[in-house]
C-alpha cells in the first residue's frame, strides 16, 4: 500500500576526500610521523637479537656500536612519537574546530523555518558529538589503524625474513584469529549501533528533563521522568552486557590460539637452534615479533567500529552543510535605503501545514502612525509579524514596505531599521547591557535613550552592578514586565523607523504603558508603531485599528468608527469592560 514509504533511503554519499582535503598537508605529516615511529619500533627486537649474536660470536664485554645505534634508534622513536602526538592532536582538533565553525556559520545563515524543522537539540548534537566523532576518526582511527597495520605487516615480514619455515608456522595462526575477530566484531558492530541509538534516546530524555524542568515540577511528574530514564538506562545496560559477552568470548580463543602458537614456536624454534639453522639471537627476536602480532588485530577490530560510527556522524554533518539555504531570509534583494515606515499588504495569504492562517489580507499602514492589530488568540496576528520580518514567506500576495516589495529589500538593511518585541521574551545569559545592545559600535546615547524610553532606568540604577548585571538564561531573575521592557529597549537601540510590539500590553501595566507611549512619541518622532493586542482600552487613541479574526480582516479604522460600525468590535469592547 504505502510502497513509497518502504523504499529504503539511499545512504548519503560521503565525500571523504573532499572532507579532509584542506588538511592534506597536516594529515600527510601525521602519517609520516606515525610511519617513522612505528618502523623504528619494529627494529628493536632485531637489533637486540643481532647484538646477542655478535656477543656469542665474540664473547667478552665491550660497548660495541650495536648499543650506540640502538640508543640512537630509541631517541629517534621518542622524538618521532612526540611529533606524532603533537601533529595528531593539532590536526584532529583543528578539523573539529573548523567543522564546528562551518556548521555554525551555515546554520547562522539558515532560515528560521529550517532551524525549527531540524530541531535545535539535533543540531546541537551535530555540533558537539558528531564533530567529536570526526575528531576521533583522525586522532584515534587514522593513527592507530596505521600503527596497527605497520606493526602487523612489519612483524609478519620480519618473522618470515628471520626464518621462512618458522615464520610460516607462526603466521598460520593469523587466519584463525582474523576469522574469529571478524565473526565477533560483526556482531559487536550491530550492538554498538544499538548502543549509539539508545544513547541518543538517553540524551533526549535528559534534554527534555533539563529544558522542561519548570513544567515537570509544576506537574509534579518527576517520577514519570525517572521511570522514562530508567527504561532507556536499563536498555543501555543490557546492550552493554551483550557487547561484553560477545567480546569476552573472543578472549579464550585468542589466548588459546596464540599460546599454542608460542608453544609450537618454542618447540620448532628450539629444534632449529639445535640443528644450527637459527641463532639464539634470532630465536629471541622471533618470540618478540610474535608477541607484537596479536595486539594490532585487536586494534584494527576496534578501529573498524570507530570508523563506521564516525561515518554516520560524517553523513549527518554533511547533510547540514549541504542543505540549501532557504531563500526567504538571505536578504537576496538589493534595495537598502532608509525607510519611511509605510507598510502595505496586498491580498496576503498564509498557509501553515495545510491550514489557512491568513486569508487575503489587504491593508495600508501610513508612516508615522500608531496602529493596532486586535483580535482573539489564534486570529493570526503574530503571523503578520513573522511575515513582515521575513521569518515566514506568504503563500500568496505581496507585502510592500515603502512601496517596494519585501523580496526586493536587502533584509539585513531592512531589519536594522525595524524594532521587534516578541511575545515570548528571549533573554540571553549575558549582561543586561549585552542583552540590550546586541551589536557593537552603538553609541551610548542610543542605549541610554532606549533604556529611558522603556522605563528601565529606575530598575537599572537600583541594581548593584547596573548595566553589567548578569541575566540568567531564560531571564528568570527578571519579572515578566521587566523582561518585556528589556525587549523593548533592545529593539529601540537601533533607532528603528518601524516598531512592532507583540502583546506588549499583556505584561506591562497600563500606567507604565502610557508612560512608555509618551516616551516613544517624544524620543522617536516619526516612528511607525504596530502593536498586536487583545485589549481595546490602551489603543483607543490609535490612528488605525485592524480587527482580525480567524485570519480574516473584519474591519479597519479608528476606535470611534469601529465602535459604531463593527458588531464584533462592540462585542469585544463590551466583554472587556465587564471584566475590567
Amino acid at each position: 500500500m504505502n510502497e513509497d514509504k518502504v523504499i529504503p533511503k539511499k545512504p548519503e554519499k560521503i565525500d571523504l576526500i573532499g572532507f579532509f582535503k584542506p588538511y592534506t598537508r597536516l594529515i600527510i605529516a601525521t602519517i609520516l610521523a606515525v610511519v617513522v615511529s612505528n618502523a623504528l619500533n619494529l627494529l628493536i627486537p632485531r637489533m637486540i637479537g643481532t647484538s646477542l649474536d655478535h656477543f656469542q660470536l665474540n664473547p667478552g664485554f665491550n660497548l660495541s656500536s650495536d648499543f650506540i645505534f640502538l640508543g640512537l634508534v630509541l631517541v629517534g622513536i621518542f622524538l618521532a612519537t612526540l611529533v606524532q602526538i603533537y601533529l595528531s592532536a593539532y590536526t584532529s582538533e583543528k578539523i573539529a574546530s573548523d567543522y564546528r565553525f562551518k556548521l555554525i556559520d551555515k546554520l547562522s545563515r539558515q532560515s528560521f523555518g529550517y532551524i525549527t524543522k531540524t530541531k535545535p537539540s539535533d543540531l546541537l548534537t551535530n555540533v558537539t558529538s558528531d564533530v567529536d566523532a570526526i575528531k576521533n576518526l583522525v586522532s584515534q582511527g587514522l593513527v592507530n589503524a596505521l600503527s596497527a597495520l605497520i606493526l602487523l605487516v612489519g612483524s609478519v615480514t620480519l618473522l618470515l625474513s628471520i626464518n621462512l619455515k618458522l615464520g610460516l608456522i607462526a603466521i598460520s595462526v593469523l587466519p584463525i584469529l582474523i576469522v574469529a575477530f571478524i565473526f565477533v566484531f560483526s556482531r559487536i558492530t550491530k550492538y554498538f549501533k544499538l548502543a549509539q541509538e539508545n544513547l541518543s534516546k538517553i540524551n533526549k530524555v535528559i534534554n527534555e528533563s533539563v529544558m522542561g524542568s519548570m513544567l515537570i515540577r509544576v506537574l509534579n511528574s518527576q517520577s514519570l521522568e525517572q521511570a522514562k530514564f530508567e527504561k532507556v538506562n536499563q536498555t543501555s545496560k543490557e546492550i552493554g552486557y551483550k557487547i561484553i559477552d560477545s567480546f569476552s568470548a573472543l578472549i579464550p580463543i585468542v589466548n588459546l590460539v596464540s599460546n599454542l602458537a608460542v608453544v609450537i614456536i618454542i618447540w620448532f624454534g628450539g629444534n632449529l637452534v639445535v640443528s644450527g639453522e637459527l641463532s639464539l639471537g634470532q630465536f629471541s627476536a622471533f618470540i618478540s615479533y610474535f608477541n607484537l602480532l596479536i595486539t594490532p588485530i585487536f586494534i584494527l577490530g576496534f578501529i573498524s567500529n570507530l570508523i563506521s560510527r564516525s561515518f554516520v556522524s560524517l553523513g549527518r554533518i554533511n547533510k547540514v552543510l549541504n542543505a540549501p539555504l532557504e531563500s526567504n531570509q538571505t536578504g537576496s534583494g538589493q534595495v537598502s535605503q532608509k525607510i519611511k515606515g509605510k507598510i502595505e499588504f496586498k491580498k496576503v495569504s498564509l498557509e501553515y501545514s495545510g491550514r489557512q492562517v491568513l486569508d487575503e489580507l489587504s491593508f495600508v499602514i501610513e508612516p508615522g502612525t500608531k496602529n493596532a492589530i486586535l483580535g482573539p488568540t489564534a486570529a493570526g496576528k503574530t503571523q503578520i509579524f513573522s511575515l513582515l520580518t521575513g521569518l515566514v514567506k506568504p503563500s500568496s500576495g505581496e507585502i510592500l514596505i515603502d512601496d517596494v516589495p519585501l523580496g526586493d529589500w536587502n533584509l539585513d538593511s531592512l531589519l536594522s531599521q525595524m524594532g521587534l518585541v516578541f511575545q515570548d521574551s528571549v533573554v540571553f545569559n549575558t549582561s543586561l547591557k549585552e542583552n540590550i545592545q546586541f551589536k557593537d559600535g552603538l553609541d551610548q546615547k542610543a542605549v541610554d535613550m532606549a533604556i529611558k524610553t522603556a522605563e528601565l532606568d529606575e530598575l537599572i540604577s537600583s541594581l548593584k552592578n547596573g548595566l553589567q548585571t548578569q541575566v540568567s538564561e531564560r531571564g528568570t531573575n527578571l519579572s515578566g514586565g521587566q523582561k518585556q521592557r528589556l525587549m523593548l529597549a533592545r529593539s529601540l537601540v537601533i533607532k528603528p523607523k518601524i516598531l512592532l510590539l507583540d502583546d506588549f500590553t499583556a505584561r506591562v501595566d497600563i500606567q507604565t504603558e502610557k508612560q512608555i507611549l509618551a516616551n516613544l512619541e517624544k524620543n522617536y518622532p516619526g516612528l511607525t508603531l504596530v502593536s498586536i493586542t487583545q485589549k481595546i482600552q490602551p489603543i483607543t487613541a490609535y490612528d488605525q485599528i485592524l480587527l482580525l479574526m480567524q485570519g480574516e480582516l473584519l474591519a479597519t479604522g479608528k476606535h470611534q468608527k469601529l465602535i459604531q460600525d463593527s458588531i464584533e468590535y462592540q462585542q469585544i469592547y463590551k466583554s472587556q469592560q465587564s471584566t475590567d
Binding site: 664485554f61 555554525i104 518527576q222 628450539g270 528571549v426 540571553f428
Partner: protein, 345 residues
C-alpha cells in the same frame, strides 16, 4: 536564595585521585564477591604471564643450548598445562568485570538523573541548560568509556606488574634493578604531570560545556537571532568560544598523549640497560644467556602495561574531571528535600 551555581567551587590543590576513587567506591556496593572472583581470575592470568618467560629462559639454558630435545619437551608440556588453566581465567576476568562496570554506570546514571529530578527550579535557572546537558551526557559518557574499557586493564596491569616485579627479583636482583630503574623517573614525571593534566582536563571540559551552551542558547532563540540581525554576532561569539575550546582541547589532548612516548622511552631505555648490563654479567660469568633473553621479555612485559597505564592515566584523569563535575551536582542539597524533612519531623 540558595546557591545552586555549578563551577564555582575552587580548584582543589594537587592530586585528588584518592578522594575521587573513594567517593566513587560507593557505587560499587554489593559487588564485593564479584570483585573478589574477578581478582582471582586476574591473578591466575597474571601468573601465566609471569612464569612463561622464565620457562622459556629455562628451555634455552637447560635444553636448547645443551641440545637436549627431550628436556625441551618437558618444558613444552608444562607451558601447555599453564595455558589451559588460564585460558578460562581470561574469559571470567573480562566478562565479569565488564558486566560489573555496566551495572555501576547504570546505578550512577540513575542516581544522577533522580538527583536532578529533585533539585528545585532555582538550580535550572542558575545554570546554563547547555552546560547541564553536557554534564549529564558528555561527562557520564567519559566515565562510561573509562569504566568499560580501562578498569579491566587497570586491574590486570596492577596484578601483572606486581607479579613480574616480585618474581624477577627472585631470579636475579641485579638484573631486576636494571629492569625497574626507569620506573623511578616515570613515577616522578607522572606525579609532576598529573596535577597539570587534571587542571587541563577540567578547563577543557568547562570549555566544551561553554561551547555547548552557546550553541544551545542561540539555536533555541533563533527567531531573535534572525530578527535582530544577530547572525554576525552569533558567529563572532561562537568563533571566540570555539577558538577557546580548540586551544583547551588541543593542549589537553597533547598533554594526555605525552605519557605514551615517555613511558615507551622509559621501557626501551630499560631494555637497553638490561641488554648491556646482562651481556656484561654474562662476560663475568654471573648470568646465562637464557636468563638474559627472559629478562628482555620481562622488560617488555613490564613496560608495555605501564605504557598502557600511561594512556589509561590520561583517560582516567579526564574521567576524574568528569566525575568531579558530576559530583558537584550530586553534592547539592536540595532545599525541597530539607523542607519535606522538616515538616515530617
Amino acid at each position: 536564595m540558595s546557591n545552586y551555581i555549578l563551577g564555582l567551587k575552587k580548584e582543589r590543590k594537587g592530586f585528588d585521585m584518592a578522594q575521587g576513587l573513594k567517593s566513587f567506591a560507593g557505587f560499587l556496593d554489593g559487588e564485593k564477591s564479584k570483585i573478589i572472583i574477578v581478582c582471582v581470575a586476574v591473578l591466575l592470568n597474571s601468573i601465566s604471564t609471569i612464569i612463561t618467560p622464565y620457562l622459556i629462559s629455562l628451555a634455552i639454558d637447560q635444553y636448547i643450548s645443551k641440545f637436549d630435545l627431550n628436556g625441551l619437551f618437558k618444558i613444552i608440556w608444562s607451558l601447555l598445562a599453564i595455558y589451559i588453566v588460564t585460558v578460562f581465567a581470561g574469559y571470567f576476568q573480562s566478562n565479569m568485570m565488564g558486566r560489573l562496570s555496566q551495572r555501576t554506570l547504570f546505578r550512577l546514571r540513575n542516581a544522577l538523573f533522580s538527583k536532578i529530578q529533585f533539585l528545585p527550579v532555582a538550580f535550572f535557572n542558575q545554570n546554563k541548560a547547555g552546560d547541564l546537558i553536557s554534564r549529564l551526557n558528555n561527562d557520564t559518557d567519559k566515565l562510561n568509556q573509562f569504566l568499560s574499557e580501562s578498569v579491566i586493564r587497570f586491574v590486570s596491569i596492577f596484578f601483572g606488574l606486581t607479579g613480574i616485579g616480585v618474581f624477577i627479583f627472585f631470579i636475579n636482583y641485579k638484573m631486576a634493578l636494571m629492569t625497574v630503574f626507569s620506573c623511578v623517573f616515570l613515577y616522578i614525571i607522572t606525579n609532576l604531570l598529573s596535577p597539570w593534566l587534571e587542571k587541563l582536563n577540567k578547563k577543557s571540559l568547562a570549555a566544551t560545556g561553554h561551547l555547548s551552551s552557546e550553541v544551545q542558547e542561540s539555536l533555541t532563540n533563533f527567531k531573535v537571532v534572525i530578527a535582530f540581525n544577530r547572525q554576525g554576532y552569533f558567529r563572532e561569539r561562537f568563533k571566540e568560544v570555539n577558538q577557546e575550546n580548540f586551544k583547551r582541547t588541543f593542549l589537553t589532548e597533547f598533554a594526555g598523549g605525552l605519557f605514551n612516548p615517555i613511558y615507551n622511552f622509559a621501557g626501551n631505555i630499560s631494555q637497553l640497560a638490561v641488554l648491556v648490563f646482562g651481556l656484561f654479567l654474562i662476560s663475568q660469568g654471573q648470568l646465562s644467556i637464557g636468563i638474559l633473553i627472559g629478562f628482555i621479555t620481562y622488560t617488555q612485559k613490564f613496560y608495555e602495561p605501564l605504557r598502557i597505564l600511561g594512556s589509561i592515566w590520561a583517560s582516567m584523569q579526564s574521567a576524574l574531571a568528569a566525575w568531579s563535575r558530576i559530583q558537584e551536582i550530586m553534592g547539592l542539597e536540595s532545599n525541597l528535600k530539607i523542607e519535606t524533612a522538616k515538616t515530617q519531623s
